[in-house]
Symmetry: C2
Subunit: 417 residues, 2 copies
């Protein structure tokens, strides 16, 4: 049996026992995990030093090194987050709906764990602690597959967290990492139908694409955000500028940042130069269509290509297109967008209503920045990720996205006629 | 562009327009569809005769011919079902949750159509009307791929239903069938990521397996039911017999029928012979383990093989195993079951509670027949199928299983700090 298969079999077993644990047991395990991150921080930091040295030797770029690095301060913040999770309400056991049937059967639909959750992610070791804690909270066994660059850190974190959870009474193997950095191990994990109840990839477009192409287990796609801000002809120019600059510039590397600006032809000569100058002042490069470039408003500009409309720049770069009106804007967004977060700036009631109804995305905004799409901002508590698919969960996912349901039917001898 | 790709592109376009239709428009379309099934029944019946003749010429077995056949009476009942759907509440637009954020943004999560639903199913032409009507009700464009044996009937039904829907104001191409009976067309449909939002296979284990192995679009698995009835040592023997016989014999070919009987060692000598005799009286063949066979209670019995524990017989056949107690019963069910419907017969409170908590299935019964797992019986209204996966929907699926959600955020210029 392969390493991955052995891990999956143990995870399935652990998931059976986890399903019978109480909220209190799981919350105690979270506290033990939070404590262990601090009390065994030397072990974790030493492993991280190995990863950092190997990464530096390979000439890894500074931003990636920064994502990889663990420090006592970062571990403290990870530990606090795990502890915080123990204080949140438990979704497991929540009654969703129910009724008494005419034949007397009492029927109750309750939330239960999904079972075995697999996560495939890239170089940030904090995702290891985050995913493990979310799964313990929701009674799921978890199989972690981090990036090969962080393998030592991930294995150390997994060891510390799994020991703490087991010490607090949870079943062995409720938290496991795949040690092999072989690509074949990832491929195998994706195909374990019957062992993995859901696979959540967290990372760039390449990772998501590979999972969608190869997985034979249910997947929740996350995190690809080709988001737009559309400035309608009725928009207040000052509000439009503030929202575009906020959506593009506050954190250009995240999925809810804007990637394309659309603006109505009727006002582009008056309003667009001001927006472009404000963007340029923040260091943004514009990929403009012909009408945008014809304005001559900024120097940091280049010709937009067809590819730019579908690109998630994740950088201080924005595509800009002048559209004939609401219809063209909605069509453009539904054609090129990734269904993440979309905003209109408008003073027109009917335009706002049509945009809300016809734009096909997880979150649709009127007169607000796309940057608000976030579990914390939406008041959902802990966030597992942002789903860009339509099945199971859409948009920011709270704890209940890691649950399924079960119908409990209590009878007294009923048979069906 | 292939036939399937052209259909998918048109379906995606239609889904955009459908998302903007009102409940009233869609319910009117359902009435028009219901009416068209009757007014154009000659056209449908003629097509069905072609399918029946071709099937007979191939020497198709009588039960399959019966499933394939359409009659004026069957069309009337299909027409009535479509009409009935127009009277059910519309899940689209339902507010799931919402709040006003601290910054003043009004956030509302509403139900929206999934977009494009694909269905792959076997020889019953009534599924064509059923699936088309469910998708019109929920504002989804649908791509239908029926069995090749029913191709003429399916194309005729699709033409009649699509014309009626379009005539009532719905967009062209909201209901489409794939005409090619080539296996490659099915394979292509399964891989149209970005065009198909969910694929629902309805049919036997082979079809479901093929979809799980090959699909690159989100799937809802349905309909495989390896269900158990477990008779606990505290069970009332009469109740146990009634429930086992009901669960096995009322409709052995459906997914909520029982396939394995488990009984406690402590009572098997006293209670099992009576149950076996009652089953034999209904014409059931027993695949018994050693202890069951040693009873010598019935003549219609054979030795159970390892494979029998995982087999969905869909026939008057049941596997029977004597277990040491609750633990072994739960382990057996979680090992071999398909997670559909599982029942315990018991008078013991703690045994009932543990069975409900630890058996991992869509529906878990105490002292009632597994045969109740059904959207109609559960009071969910129209049923799309019975999901045996944990993601998105589990157990009988009502109309809301054909919906996704969308967050609507109404602001007044908010930007994120």
């Amino acid at each position: 049996m392969s390493e991955v298969m052995e891990i999956a079999v143990r995870a399935r077993e652990a998931s059976r026992s986890l399903a019978a644990t109480s909220t209190r047991q799981r919350d105690r395990a979270l506290l033990a995990m939070s404590h262990a991150i601090m009390s065994r921080q030397d072990e974790i930091l030493e492993a991280n030093v190995k990863d950092m040295e190997a990464a530096r030797a390979k000439g890894t770029a500074a931003p990636l090194l920064d994502r990889l690095e663990l420090t006592p301060a970062r571990l403290k913040s990870i530990s606090e987050a795990v502890k915080g999770l123990s204080l949140q309400p438990d979704p497991i056991g929540e009654v969703v709906t129910g009724r008494r049937l005419a034949n007397g059967i009492q029927l109750t639909q309750v939330r239960v764990p999904l079972g075995v959750v697999a996560m495939i992610y890239e170089a940030r070791p904090n995702v290891t602690a985050d995913a493990a804690a979310l799964c313990v909270k929701t009674g799921n066994a978890v199989i972690l597959r981090g990036g090969s660059m962080a393998v030592e850190s991930n294995l150390a974190l997994t060891r510390v967290l799994a020991n703490a959870a087991t010490g607090a009474g949870l079943p062995d193997s409720c938290i496991q990492s795949i040690a092999s950095t072989d690509r074949a191990a990832t491929d195998e994990l994706m195909t374990l139908h019957g062992y993995v109840d859901v696979l959540i990839p967290r990372g760039g477009a390449g990772l998501i694409r590979s999972v969608v192409d190869n997985a034979k287990v249910p997947v929740i796609e996350t995190g690809i955000g080709n988001c737009h801000v559309y400035v309608h002809e009725s928009a207040d120019p000052g509000m439009a500028t503030r929202i575009v600059v906020n959506a593009k510039c506050t954190r250009p590397g995240v999925c809810n940042a804007a990637e394309t600006l659309l603006i109505d032809d009727a006002i582009h000569e008056q309003v667009l130069p001001g927006i472009l100058k404000a963007l340029e002042a923040e260091g943004v490069t514009i990929c403009g269509d012909e009408k945008t470039r014809a304005l001559g408003a900024v120097t940091r500009i280049q010709a937009a290509t067809e590819e730019d409309w579908s690109t998630e720049f994740l950088d201080l770069k924005i595509a800009c297109k002048v559209v004939s009106g609401l219809d063209q804007a909605i069509t453009h967004i539904n054609t090129y967008g990734s269904g993440h977060s979309e905003a209109i700036v408008t003073a027109d009631y009917a335009a706002a209503q049509r945009f809300l109804a016809e734009v096909d995305a997880a979150a649709v905004y009127v007169n607000a920045s796309t940057r608000f799409t976030d579990g914390g901002e939406f008041g959902l508590g802990a966030e597992i990720g942002i789903s860009t698919q339509k099945l199971h969960a859409r948009g920011p996912m709270g704890l209940s996205a890691l649950t399924s349901t079960k119908w409990l039917a209590m009878g007294s001898g009923q048979i069906r006629e």
